[in-house]
Structure formats: C-alpha cells, structure tokens
C-alpha cells in the first residue's frame, strides 16, 4: 500500500463519516482530485490489501471496516448519527473509531431477542448478560471476511 493509496483510503473513510454512508467512486474522485477510473483502480488495490471491501466485480464499497455500506443487523447510533456495522466487533468499533459514546441495537443471533448496549466512556452498559462469540479463528478471518 503506497502513500497515494493510503491517502485515497483516508479520503474514503473521511467521506464515509461525513456523509453517514458509503461514498461513490465519483464522489471520492471529486474530493480527492482524482479521475474516477483511478479511484476505482485504487479501491481495487485497497480491497486486495484488506483495507476496504468491495462488492465482487464492482466498484461499490461493501465495507470500510468497521462501517458497513448497506443495512445489517447491527445498528449503531453515535455522535448524533446512525451507522450500520458489519458485526458485533465492528459495532463497538464504530464508537471507538468516532471516539464517541453510542448505542448499539441488535438481536441475539440465536433467539432473535433484541439486545441494546450503550457504550459510555469506552465501556459497555447493558442490562443483559450478553456474550460475544467469534466462530472463525483469526488465521482465517480474511478467507471470507463477509462470513467471518
């Protein structure tokens, strides 16, 4: 990952935060002062380097971890905005990335009951005795990051 791709990655993340959604290639090109085709090529290199995730065969963002581009079961309210996260780890990660308190709304992956967790001063506050389970070992997370 060279400095140009790192700068593109950081511009992309900045727009994700600013817009409250995933930026498009054209929006990112406009902000970065690059041609859209160069942004698309850069995003593909960043995808290959696991710095963001594209939908297969497209130049559409799927993940700028911890942020998710489309609705997921993990809704996060932080800093006066709302976001979707890719998983439970990412849900807490949005509060962490924004350096903000927040509220995570999700459901138990087993029974579907609603779970709400507040993050206050970097700590979770919840009435539930909740637990986090990671099924895939760390050595295989990027084998299929969407499943992981």
């Amino acid at each position: 990952m060279d400095d140009i791709d790192i700068a593109l990655r950081n511009t992309t993340y900045g727009l994700f935060v600013e817009f409250g959604r995933a930026p498009t290639v054209d929006e990112t090109a406009g902000r970065a002062g690059m041609a859209s085709a160069d942004v698309a090529l850069g995003w593909q290199r960043l995808h290959d380097a696991h710095a963001l995730v594209l939908y297969p065969g497209t130049d559409e963002l799927r993940m700028a971890n911890p942020f998710a581009a489309r609705p997921t079961p993990y809704r996060v309210h932080a800093g006066g905005r709302s976001w979707y996260a890719n998983c439970a780890w990412d849900a807490f990660g949005i509060c962490a990335a924004l350096h903000s308190d927040g509220r995570i709304e999700t459901a138990c992956a087993d029974c579907g009951d609603e779970i709400t967790v507040h993050v206050v001063d970097r700590k979770p506050v919840t009435d539930d005795d909740i637990a986090f389970h990671c099924l895939v070992p760390a050595s295989h997370w990027w084998d299929d990051i969407v499943f992981s």
């Binding site: 993340y13 994700f16 971890n65 807490f92 509060c95 637990a131 986090f132 099924l135």
Partner: protein, 69 residues
C-alpha cells in the same frame, strides 16, 4: 462475530459445530477500542501484522485461535 443473550444461547446456536472463542462485552469493547480507535484518523497508516497481534496479546486474547496469519 455475533452477540448473544448468554453463553447458553451460544451453545444452542452452535448446534454441535466446533466452538470458536467467547468473550464478554467488556472484553469486546476493549478490543474494539484498541483495534479500531485510529480508523478514521486522517493520518491513519496501515497496521502491521505484529501490531495487530500485539493488540490481541495485550488483551489476553492468546492461544492458537487468536494467532493472525
């Protein structure tokens, strides 16, 4: 990477599959802050594999399951 109402729910959800790793919400929140805290910094630089492994190790997430490739 999911949340569950309790460890009993995890066992039921696994339905006989080999378990991964279970940690508390407190541990997960600590991990998230250590892992993602710099992600929207305009000066972000890529983490090395060893930097990420150190985050896991420093939080007590050790053993084969938590070894990055």
């Amino acid at each position: 990477m999911n949340l569950f109402r309790s460890e009993e729910h995890i066992v039921r959800w696994l339905d006989g599959r080999t378990p991964g790793a279970t940690i508390s919400a407190v541990a997960l929140c600590d991990l998230a802050h250590a892992w993602w805290g710099d992600r929207v910094s305009p000066d972000w630089r890529p983490h090395t594999r060893d930097q990420n492994q150190l985050i896991l190790d420093s939080l007590g997430l050790t053993g084969a399951f938590w070894q990055l490739p």
